[in-house]
Amino acid sequence: MAIIEQKTIPLNGDEAVAYAVKQSDVDVVAAYPITPQTIIVERFSEYVANGEVDTEFVCVESEHSALAASLTASLTGARAFTATASAGLALMHEMVYVTAGCRAPVVMAVTNRALSAPINIHCDHSDVMAERDSGWIQLWAENAQEVYDSIIQAFRIAEHPDLMTPVMVNLDGFFLSHTLENVQVLPDNVVRKFVGIRQYPLVSDTQGKKVPFKLDPDFPLTMGPLDLPDYYFEHKRQQEEAMHIAPKIIKQVHDEYAKLSGRSYGNGFVDAYNVDDAEIVTVCLGSTAGTTKTVVDQLRSKGIKAGVLRVRTLRPLPVEDIMRALENKKAVAVLDRSNSVGGQGGPFFHEIRHVLYGAQSHPPIVDYVYGLGGRDMPPALIQNIYKDLEEIAKTGKVKNLVQFAGVRE
């Protein structure tokens, strides 16, 4: 299949989300605006007002209702989308778990923002880390182009009948949401064909008949009932199984999309930049990877064997990919844009260090909590981290397991 000719248009990250949703034949969008996600809701409501989409747009009174409406629309068989950030995601918390447990394939953009208090509207990852264990697939974008591409892929992944698992697409607040980039967009009909028409897995009704998994008066089903100690555990085990199947589907969708668009993101799970022959490696999520890649280029030009591993799917965690990329390195630093207060490092550090425990050899691994509440992460700070890694690689000794990069003493 030849790569499709595409036009390049200026879009910020939020607009890239709205544009991708416009093209993805979405039936229901229920959302509540919150900085820095607001542009998604504004742009999309313009598409609705202009008649550019036939989506039912539901104005709700809170984020809890936004996700409740999206999830229930999804259970009737509709393709549903919502978006939020920070306190909005925190208010959704209950419904985040309900959506995953009801196996409603909702797609949600999360424009990552710090949690209060003190109140702050800027980027960090503490909002979404609180939802890490909720049962959603998590895609993380490095730039507006990847935001656009990931939203389109997310519908195909979430709605796969073997998966039926909601997908979050994470984009860094302001750094991505409000920064204008040149974004290549596929023609409407190509996206529509790519996302396709939603298919439904079959489930047993009360008569033992196999019926499509959706609320339909022609095939009555009871969804979301009380589930006591005799069966709740089995349903939770099924969700874990879906996460085991997910990598196959994520890969298939990523590769098929790459053939169409010419764009791929590492192997779909991790994006390894100069990692193969590297001695010192940083591991990060989201837009920080862009700055870090520039620093890696500078270090490489001086003969320093530096690399950066960006994780694209935090859930399911690509354990094998991370392990293979890091196990033979001399020193590894995790860049954490959130902190687990009192937990010895941020949540991302815990994930990566946990993976390395199963590796053949254990490189020394340290954590840098950075950028909380939108604090900048300039190249100089990243250069200092690589300097620390050179020292650790030389001596094999870790002086500080967890440090805070960019905080004033």
Binding site: S204, D205, T206, F213
Partner: protein
């Protein structure tokens, strides 16, 4: 509930019910059981109205009130509301 419970590979996703709610005998949650004295009962059917679980029915054939102990959770509302004091709550296993 006599059958062997199913495993996660056999059941539908998301807790979709594969059997009707009436197959689930919530009456086994009960610790107190309502017992009616037919001599005191005036058959006013107030108990039928106040029962939150439709566990008190009118039997057309016998022309009498019938308790369905498969679904009576023993909440005691019927006994509390009965004007004729015809219903008493008796501890299960205590008869």
């Amino acid at each position: 509930m006599s059958q062997q419970p199913k495993g996660w590979k056999e059941i539908s996703i998301a807790g979709v019910c594969w059997k009707p709610a009436t197959d689930y005998h919530t009456g086994d949650w009960r610790s107190f059981k309502p017992v009616r004295d037919p001599k005191k009962c005036t058959k006013c059917l107030l108990c039928h109205i106040v029962c939150p679980d439709a566990a008190i029915q009118w039997n057309k054939e016998t022309q009498d009130i019938e308790f369905n102990y498969d679904f009576c959770k023993g909440c005691g509302i019927c006994a509390n509301e009965c004007g004729a004091k015809a219903i008493v709550m008796v501890q299960e296993g205590g008869e």
